[in-house]
Every structure is written in C-alpha cells, then in structure tokens.
C-alpha cells in the first residue's frame, strides 16, 4: 500500500473508544482472591442447591491442576487470579415491576449505549435480560414468553426455579474439564442467562442479553445455557460494551447450546468490550468457550459474531454435529485495531451422517493489531457423506498489523468433502481515491469498504442487530459511519 493511504488509514483508525464510562451504583463485593471459601461464598450468596456447589468445587479443584493455554497466537500478560474480585452485585436488587422503578443510573447507562429498554420494548419486540455485573437487574417480556412455555431468565433464577433442567444440561456441552478458562468459569460463574424453548415452539421474538462489566476490578464469569427442544426455534442475541478503565479485566464466559431433533438455534453476538487505549493499556481479556451440540437429527446451530472490542480475544464457537443431517454454521467478523489481539475461529466436529458445516470468517486488522483465524474441522469415521466449507478472509488496513490463518482439518472417512479457501487483501489506495473522488471522506470510505467486505457475515444477523453491528464495525475503525 502507498505510504499516503497508510497515513490516511492511520489517522482515521485512531478513534477513541466511544462507550467508556462507569456507572455509579452501589456494589457489594466478594473478598478479593480465589479459594474454596470464595466459591462457598458465591454459592451461599446465591442460595444455590448442593449439587451446584459440588460442581463448582470439582471445577475449582480441577482448575488448580491445569495450566493456562499458550498455543494461541497471543501475547498475554500474566494474570494474577488472586487479585480478582469474583463476585459483585448491585445492592438494590428488589424485583421491579416497571422500567420506571429501575435504577435511573442503570437506565442512563443503557441510554448512553443507545439501547434504552423502553425503545427496545416498543420498537424491536426484543426481550432483554440485562446483566449488569453479576446479578440480573431486569427481565422484560417474560410474561409474553411464558405464554409459550418459554423460559428466559437469569442463570441464578433458573438454578432456583428449574434446577432439574440446569442439572441435566449444565456442563453437558462444555464440561468443566474442557479447558483452563472453562474450569475457572465453572468454579466461579456468577450469573448469566438461561433459555428453554419447549417442543415445537418457535420463539416469537429475538431474545437478547446485554452484558456489562461495571464494578471496578471485577472479573466477569457469565454462563449461558440454551436448550431448544424438539422442533423448537430461537434467535438469541448477545451484545456488550464495557466502561473504559486502566486495568486489564478478565472475562471468561461459557455458552452452551443444546439443539434437539429438528430444532434450530441462531446465536448472534456483537462484542464490544473495552479494547484498551491506543498504546495498548487496559482493555478486556475475553476468553470465551462457546459450543453447541446438534443432538438430534436435522437440528441446526448457527453462530454469528461481530467482534470489535477486547484487548485480547480467545474464542472458538463451535458445533458438535451429533445428529444425522445436522447443520453447523459459523459467521464471523473480527476487527482488531491499535494493539488489540484476536485469536478466534471455529471448531466443527462432525459425528453424525450427512452433517454439514460452514465457516465464513472475515478478519479486519488495523493499527499494530494481530488477528488470527484458528479453525478445526473434524469429520469422524462414522460421519459419512459430510461436508464442510470454510472461507477465511483477511483484510489489512495499513502495514503494521498482522493476519494469520491456522486451519486444522481431519477427515476420517472417504465420502466426506472439506473445502478451505483463504484470501488476504488490503484496502487499496485506488479504492480510497475512488470513494473520495465521489465526495466521500476517507473515514466514511473505510467504513463503506469494511462493511462491504463483511457483508456476507452481517447479513446473517437479525435485522434489529445488524444496524448496531454495522455502526460498531465502523466506529471501531474510525469515526461514525452509519
């Protein structure tokens, strides 16, 4: 690329994080550090049944024997796990009947983010389970949902009200032994979302959760469990932004999805955690384990993610395609800027016959960032006539950033086909000049080009999410392109 366009790109990509602010709500903390006592504290604070405390303790003991993985293409400063507060809850947590009774500070926070619950309620028909710090503050639309027998609530509530479902499915897709951060989450998770769609029910609205990290120096360990029973359908959206701060914050979440026979789950994420400042200070460590299992035949799980935030992203949403004819999809746009690092991709494990998976990954790197795609496609011996198509594209803005692709492919039978395509491109000075000559400034031009590049993924998002995603994509690379 010409040095001139480097300069332009450099200028416009140095945009400050727009969503950096801290809400001042009184918060109650667990003692700093991690011991069995911490875990007992969390469990008792939440009035958890015995089985859950046992699960946590087993996970903790396992975690103590494990080591933080080093295989990712990431440089991670040592994490002091004893310097983290593992539980925090807003003090005022009595049930509220209407939005007017919600803490005004909290409402203001949502308003700043442009996601006022009121608006959501009226316009989008989206039920919002807003998680702030660790305790769910407000759940809307639960009445409408309960009419269909749909359960959509905080994880804590599910533990108390639907312990059998939790007990049956929690850890069935991501066991606590899975990896270092999954073990940690299983030991200390504070809250999250739970969703159950009964047999034959098409969830009439998109379900959405906004996660926020809020209390200073508090790690966040969400846990989400989604179960779609036979023939059920749900579109689930997760989005998050975090306030600006100096210290690194650890975020190690688990999402588990179970799709029974003929069920379909569409899980969409817009991830915009605080990425750290221009010099690479601060920012969220986003170490997430997301996995779904297509348990029954003809089931389908689809992951779509737009990743623009976090200092470090380590995340490989995947599918275990157990049921015959089941389908797994992964659509991803990952943007890294300044000193951000991302090592993300997907894991598709074909176990059933005629199973299909698709991976479309678009990496966009700017500044001094590093962006890696890492994917595993495994087709087992019994998964005859299976197919995978993977496409991994990298777009570079400027010449100080890095893009890498690490595809791993294992095919254990002869009737299956795996296709992998990869490209690397740059925004050319020609393209920028062309746009500018039409009166579009460089900043908007980059927004246009990047959104065009990511179109294949963006069009997978639910409509109410797509606009926000496009905005985030542009904002994370420049000013404010719609």
């Amino acid at each position: 690329m010409e040095p001139d366009s480097d300069k332009i790109i450099d200028q416009v990509t140095r945009q400050d994080y727009k969503y950096g602010f801290v809400t001042d709500i009184e918060t109650e903390f667990a003692p700093r550090g991690l011991t069995e006592d911490t875990i007992r504290y969390i469990s008792s604070r939440k009035n958890e049944p015995e089985f859950l405390l046992e699960f946590r303790l087993k996970a903790f003991r396992r975690w103590l024997t494990m080591k933080q993985p080093t295989w990712a293409h990431l440089t991670i400063d040592p994490i002091n796990f004893q310097d983290i507060i593992y539980y925090a809850s807003p003090k005022k947590k009595k049930e509220v009947a209407g939005l007017d009774q919600v803490d005004p500070e909290l409402l203001a926070t949502f308003n700043k983010l442009g996601i006022s619950l009121e608006e959501q309620k009226k316009l989008a028909g989206v039920a919002v389970d807003a998680v702030m710090d660790s305790v769910s503050v407000k759940t809307t639309f639960s009445e409408t949902l309960s009419k269909y027998g749909i359960i959509f609530c905080s994880f804590s509530e599910a533990v108390l009200k639907h312990p059998d479902l939790v007990r049956q499915y929690m850890g069935s897709v991501v066991p606590y032994t899975d990896n270092y951060f999954a073990a940690l989450n299983s030991a200390v998770f504070s809250d999250g979302s739970f969703c159950y769609i009964p047999k034959g029910v098409r969830c009439p609205m998109g379900l959405s959760t906004y996660f926020r990290i809020n209390a200073a120096n508090t790690g966040q360990f969400e846990r989400t469990l989604i179960i779609a029973d036979e023939g059920a359908y749900v579109s689930y959206m997760e989005g998050c932004t975090a306030p600006q701060r100096d210290e690194n914050q650890l975020h190690a979440a688990i999402v588990e999805i179970i799709a029974m026979k003929d069920a379909e789950v569409k899980y969409s994420t817009v991830q915009n955690w605080y990425p750290g400042n221009k010099e690479g200070r601060g920012g969220i460590y986003n170490f997430v384990t997301k996995r779904g299992i297509c348990k029954g035949s003809n089931s389908k799980i689809s992951w779509t993610q737009v990743e623009t935030g976090s200092a470090i992203t380590w995340k490989y949403p995947g599918c275990i395609l157990l049921g015959d004819n089941s389908v797994g999809e992964f659509y991803s746009v990952a943007v890294t800027n300044n000193h951000q690092q991302a090592d993300t991709g997907s894991k598709m494990q074909h176990l059933g016959k005629n199973t299909h998976s698709t991976i479309i990954s678009k990496g966009i790197s700017a500044g001094k960032s590093n962006n890696s795609y890492r994917g595993l496609v495994r087709i087992s011996k019994n998964a005859i006539n299976s197919r995978n198509y993977s496409q991994c594209d990298s777009l570079l803005l400027g010449s100080s950033c890095g893009a890498h692709t690490f595809p791993y492919i294992q095919v254990e039978n002869k009737s299956s086909i795996v296709e992998h395509e990869a490209t690397t491109s740059k925004i050319s000075e020609d393209q920028l000049f062309y746009c500018q000559q039409r009166g579009i400034d460089a900043e908007s031009a980059i927004g246009l080009i990047v959104n065009g590049y990511a179109k294949e993924v963006l069009k997978q998002l639910p409509l109410e999410f797509a606009v926000e995603a496009q905005k985030l994509l542009s904002v994370s690379l420049e000013g404010s392109v719609g």
């Binding site: 010409e2 001139d4 050319s428 000075e429 020609d430 393209q431 000049f433 062309y434 746009c435 500018q436 000559q437 039409r438 009166g439 579009i440 400034d441 460089a442 908007s444 246009l448 080009i449 959104n451 065009g452 590049y453 990511a454 179109k455 294949e456």
Partner: protein, 250 residues
Amino acid sequence: MLLRIKDLHASIHGKEILKGVNLEVNKGEVHAIMGPNGTGKSTLASVIAGREVFEVTAGEILYQGKNLQKLAVEERAREGIFLGFQYPVEIPGVSMTNFMRTAVNEIRQYKGLDALSGSDFMKMMEEKKKLVEITSNLTNRSVNEGFSGGEKKKNEIFQMAMLEPTLAILDETDSGLDIDALRIVANGVNKLRRPDNAFVVITHYQRLLDYIVPDFVHVLFEGKIVKSGGKELALELEDKGYDWIKNEQL
C-alpha cells in the same frame, strides 16, 4: 473562468510527468485532450482531482477562483469536480445504491442541503439510469464488481449524472467500448451539457468526438500541451497520426 491551470508541474516518486501544462476552461465548453499513451493525460486528471501520490512541484490550478491545492480530494469533489476513471475500481460488497447515496448526501451536506429521503433518492436513481440507458439491476450490484468493461464506463457516466458536477473530466471513457456503448456514453454527456458546466474529455481516438463535439482540442505530449485548436485539430491528428506531433517537437 471555471478552471485555470498555470504552468503546472507534477511528479510521481520523484519522476516529473507534467512539465508545464497551461489550460483554461470556461463554463459551457467542452475540451478534448488527446495524445499518445504515457504522455500524462491521466496524470493531469488525477492531479486536478487531487490524488496525493502525485506531487505538484510548480504552477497552480485555480477552480472557480480557488486554489485547488488547498482542498482535499473529497472537498474538490464536493465543489463539483468529477473524474470519470479510465480504470474504475471494484468495491466488493458495497452496493451502488449505498455508495451513491453516501456520495450524494455527503455532497448535499457540504452544500448545506438536507439529506435526500430514501424514496427521493431512489426516484433520482431511476431517472439517471434512464438517462444513461442502464438496465435496472446494475444498481443493486456492488460497485463495479463483475461489471464488463462497457458496464464500468456506463457506470461512470451514471455516477456523473447522479452527482451533477460543474467540471467533469472523462478519462478515456470511450476506450474499449463498442459503437452502441460509445453512443450511449456520448448521449449521456450531451444530455448533461449545460451553460453552467464544462467537460474535459480525454481520449486517444477522434471517434468519440464524432458524438461529443468539442469546442477545443488540445494535444498533450510528454507532459505539455503542445498544440491547441478547434474540433478540426482532432481530424487532422487522426489523419496524420501522433508521429506528426512527435516530429514537429523534434
């Protein structure tokens, strides 16, 4: 006077390409610039548009009395300068509709006008498409992606019609066109000609000038305008070939 280029010198990566160009264009005029390949025609167009890889080392460009060198590429565009590209670039995934809507509204904002509503914009698209005889599906596609050579050139004229420039520079818009496409492109230009705008048509062949009749013809040779005349100069050039110019220069 709309455009006044005085003793313009420009270079790329230290290599001088334009070596003292003088040119004056008034509103209502059509100028043709001809000349052999590699002589600096596209460079001249790029320098007027403000492409940053080219360095202006001497001289000046005045546009509506303003010194263009003080304006960024997009500002020149918003001031009414349009460049029809010799090689239009592809922008994958960006629809023509989105692209043009962004451009039209940026220009409107610059002029202090409100953004066009979606329906007004679509109406405008339809009108302008008719003008350049563009089939309807063109605008749903990504900018120039998968367009044939002829479609790309028609698309440049379409964009010109959308943006209604005061000064349009068309860089070899005729190259590679069959006679039908050539006629469509020329018709587009002729329909857009007005007393308050001007065209600079860069062409290698005189053929286009049968359809777009210029008021002036200039010959650019090795970075300088070495000959200017009326439309008959184009015919003479066609007749005698560029060697004639070359020999005269020796």
